[in-house]
Symmetry: C2
């Protein structure tokens, strides 16, 4: 069966970090998971506005949630990195109102919405973990809204790099680096600007020695400076392991 296979994929899931899942909960989830699927870059896991009853967990690679305006402009409204849930909305809604597309090669496992719900009825921890995840996602989206509404292009870019550096967990200190598997055009769709302008802002960050970019490998010599430029304060991510324990404490 795939349950043992998937179980390891679930190990590092954000859901686990919530601290709401017991070992049995985790095992129960692993047992209803479908076989992992390999995906090429640039394909839709879920298409915009479609009905689906399957919840996808990303186990490797990157994906994004996106929406398009009537006149064709695209906005990426969430980055999905390994261990994230692609379309949590399907847990409660029949129809997603965004699409999910891979940004790089990726693998994902599917969970049947109905089976997750059924599990949740017996195991409150599972529903709690999903709720926790929805709320954290909300916090991130709120931060994006603040950034889109009230920051300059340079600040938005710097802030995004800060967020990614933290979410990827590659170390938050000076000298931290990570790989950005996205084109400048996709960055533009995240940041609400033009690919051309992304390029210029990147150039400026490089010129100011705030980042070092070799191809798509980003290195941050001085994280505090990058945070300062982006006006970044990472507490909204709620994803630091330190938070999991406090969550557990509140279970009573």
């Amino acid at each position: 069966m795939n349950s043992s296979h998937v179980s390891s994929a679930l190990e590092s899931t954000q859901l686990i970090r919530s601290g709401f899942l017991s070992d049995e909960d985790r095992q129960a989830l692993a047992e209803i998971a479908a076989a992992p699927r390999s995906l090429k870059a640039g394909v839709d896991l879920v298409s915009e506005g479609v009905r689906t009853d399957s919840i996808h967990l990303l186990t490797s690679g990157w994906a994004c949630r996106y929406k398009t305006t009537r006149d064709g402009a695209r906005q990426i409204i969430g980055l999905v990195v390994p261990s994230d849930i692609c379309n949590l909305d399907s847990f409660m809604l029949d129809k997603v109102d965004f699409g999910v597309r891979t940004l790089s090669m990726a693998t994902a496992v599917g969970l049947s919405r109905d089976r997750v719900r059924a599990l949740g009825a017996e195991r409150p921890g599972i529903t709690r973990a999903f709720t926790w995840f929805a709320i954290v996602e909300n916090a991130i989206l709120g931060e994006w809204a603040l950034s889109l509404g009230r920051q300059t292009a340079l600040q938005r870019l710097a802030r995004l790099l800060c967020e990614l550096s933290m979410r990827l967990g590659d170390g938050h200190g000076d000298g931290a680096g990570f790989k950005l598997p996205v084109t400048q055009e996709q960055l533009a769709d995240i940041l609400g600007m033009t690919a051309v302008h992304v390029n210029r802002m990147m150039k400026q960050l490089r010129a100011d020695s705030v980042i070092v970019a070799e191809g798509r490998q980003i290195t941050v010599p001085d994280m505090a400076e990058l945070c300062r430029v982006g006006g970044f304060d990472g507490s909204y991510l709620h994803a630091a392991p330190s938070n999991a324990e406090t969550a557990v404490n509140h279970l009573g």
Copy 2:
């Protein structure tokens, strides 16, 4: 006791619309609700970044969720209208990372986070309803992000008016009208622009006869036209009563 008093306040709550709450669930919630509080305009129900273990339901008036950047700019990341939950985040997180402030005179009731959670352990419908609400809120926030990132000032304003017209449920047809209890400065904080520019865009909508504004009373002579200008498609709200039944059907 206040339970009967609060019960009526809960009647029209968004939570009810989810279709996940049974009558008993509703009653159980009403019993743990604190007495309603009257609030003046412009006061914080919850301050930014504070720890709180109380979840507030708005029963009358308007409020908003907001965040501020390090350099003092403010962005409103959500409007709270009667029957909405002000700080759902507190259901799962110790610390909210936004503030909630009344925009007009308002009344709210508080629910103890721990007691709601305890209820949820016995009554899965309650947790489900909260999760549903978090996910709908997410959908709205995603739509705001799309708007902030990819629409012009005029489109953003038009879209907001469309959303409000729908959420307030005053009728979505031509001739629909509603009261906007917010200053242009607050609109600016919602739309990610300047109060001055809000004024100009309002002027343009008026000049184009898309809206009629007398003070803070907005009338929409041609809703289809307003939707067209704002590139609005309301399906993301998931709040139409029609949706509640389909949600119920999926409970099994």
